[in-house]
């Protein structure tokens, strides 16, 4: 890459080196099982969301044929950067507005159980902090991650609200995000299911443009989520559609502790979310 304000140049790279003098930076190289990206095409999706199309010369998983891909287009210091399409996984979903995490609105249980340092008995949630065999220094024992199966018996069976709280590595704060087959998609990606890890409790948009976690995933449009990287690397999260509602609505943080759906504004941290690996 190099750039110039005049088509006749000079074109300089990110260090100001003229491309005729050895300057220039590769925008995107081969990666994974894909070889030879090229044929950049800008997709301006509005609301500050940009993507680019390209062809890989060869997809090694498909006999080396040339394939199309669409990826987020990010910007750093005025230079384009190839973003990554969202990948399935288990995540902490953190609000850029508050720095707190999206969670099922249930009472949390400390990871490792209630205070049991020094070998005390643990409660639900994992066996007691630092609990270990007799005689073994308890503080050296790793404390296993908290799984939903350890604590979900205390959760209500039906619909549960969502809220935001400081992330405490607890089961009600960990979301499994998985692509949904045969449900369509958007440029570069399929729709995703967002559910509490280890459960089928699925994040759902309501007709009132609010959020709830339902006990089961049915694949309805209000349970299908479009997750797109924004220019700063955070993500916009939108339901495929909302019953009886038009327009684009995105996951939004309102106040300190409440998520809702609002009309996306590219310049507001309310609509920006980070997906962090627990």
């Amino acid at each position: 890459m190099g750039r110039s304000r005049k088509v006749t140049g000079p074109f300089v790279d990110n260090l100001g080196i003229d491309m005729l003098q050895g300057g220039g930076k590769l925008f995107l190289a081969s990666g994974g099982r894909f070889i030879g990206p090229g044929h950049f095409g800008l997709l301006e999706l509005g609301d500050g969301v940009q993507k680019f199309s390209m062809h890989y010369e060869a997809d090694l998983d498909r006999g080396g044929i040339s394939v199309l891909d669409i990826r987020p287009l990010l910007w750093r210091d005025g230079w384009p950067v190839a973003g990554e399409n969202f990948k399935e996984g288990t995540y902490q979903i953190e609000s850029a507005r508050t720095g707190t995490a999206l969670e099922l609105a249930v009472q949390g249980t400390p990871v490792g159980g209630l205070r049991g340092r020094g070998g005390g008995r643990g409660a639900a949630g994992g066996g007691g902090r630092g609990a270990g065999p007799a005689g073994e220094p308890a503080a050296r024992n790793p404390i296993p991650a908290q799984e939903a199966s350890q604590v979900s018996a205390e959760w209500p069976a039906g619909a549960i609200d969502v809220r935001m709280s400081p992330y405490m590595v607890q089961a009600q704060q960990k979301w499994a995000v998985t692509p949904v087959a045969n449900a369509g998609g958007y440029p570069g990606s399929p729709y995703f299911k967002i559910a509490i890890a280890g459960t089928d409790r699925a994040l759902t948009a309501t007709a009132e443009r609010e959020l709830v976690v339902l006990p089961t995933f049915t694949g309805r449009p209000e349970q299908l989520w479009r997750i797109e990287q924004l220019s700063d690397g955070t993500y916009r999260v939108m339901p495929k559609s909302i019953p009886d509602t038009q327009g684009a609505w995105a996951l939004s943080a309102i106040g300190s502790s409440m998520p809702t759906l609002g009309r996306f504004a590219a310049d507001s941290d309310r609509y920006r979310w980070s997906f962090k690996t627990p």
């Binding site: 609105a105 249930v106 009472q107 009132e208 443009r209 609010e210 309102i254 106040g255 300190s256 502790s257 409440m258 809702t260």
Partner: protein
């Protein structure tokens, strides 16, 4: 005076108001004088302030609790200490409620700040400020039906809120009072009176709350008035 005694003297001097609430010494139950941030309402209605905060409330004298502030503990305390909830039964200043062996009174107050200082309220009445539950209520008059509004509150510490009899917010655990900490889902304020009710639970130390309504854009709803049952 040893360094330790000197330190204790300094602490007592700077936090005397807090230490005065300690459980140890037996003390008079007589009222201590007016709360510095609260006053008896002197008018029939009060317009919300420039930032939309509701500054007129009825507060029930505090009810003792076990001081636990988790989700389940708060809900259990509220269930155990419930007061009449029907919007048609909004209490009046001076009404009394039987709680256990005690008769607790409702007090009408205007606050000079955006928040209502429950510590001031209870301290002035010589009532406990720690490990307590405060019931509060007020009536918000809307000039027209307002859809897409949200109740936005902050509280020290946990609190649960109702609008016209429907639970709309619950925030839990020990926390500071932060403006718009808890925000309800969208709701409709009906034209005319709307009854707001809350239970605020405190563990120890300072305790207060603030409340206002936000519009669809997240801006304070102005033009509301607050009144209490005469």
């Amino acid at each position: 005076m040893s360094r330790l005694l000197l330190l204790l003297a300094v602490v007592a001097g700077t936090t005397g108001a807090v230490l005065a609430q300690g459980p140890a010494p037996a003390q008079s139950t007589a009222p201590r004088g007016p709360a510095p941030s609260l006053a008896r309402p002197a008018s029939a209605t009060k317009v919300v302030n420039a930032d939309g905060f509701l500054q007129r409330w009825l507060i029930l004298e505090p009810i003792r609790t076990n001081g636990q502030l988790t989700d389940t503990a708060v809900q259990a305390a509220i269930k155990a200490q419930a007061v009449p909830t029907e919007p048609s039964k909004v209490p009046r200043h001076g009404d009394k409620v039987a709680v256990g062996d005690a008769q607790l009174a409702w007090h009408a107050v205007d606050t000079i700040g955006y928040n209502v200082n429950l510590y001031h309220f209870a301290y002035a009445l010589n009532k406990p400020t720690s490990n307590v539950l405060f019931w509060v209520t007020t009536i918000v008059n809307a000039p027209r039906e307002m859809s897409g509004a949200r109740l936005a509150i902050g509280s020290n510490a946990a609190s649960v809120w109702w609008v016209n009899g429907r639970e709309v917010i619950g925030i839990f655990n020990d926390r500071q009072s932060v403006v718009d900490d808890g925000v309800s889902k969208r709701l409709t304020l009906q034209k005319g009176p709307n009854v707001i009710r809350a239970a605020i639970l405190n563990g120890g130390g300072a305790t207060d709350f603030c409340a206002r309504f936000l519009d669809e854009a997240g801006l304070p709803v102005k033009g509301l008035t607050v009144s209490l049952v005469e």
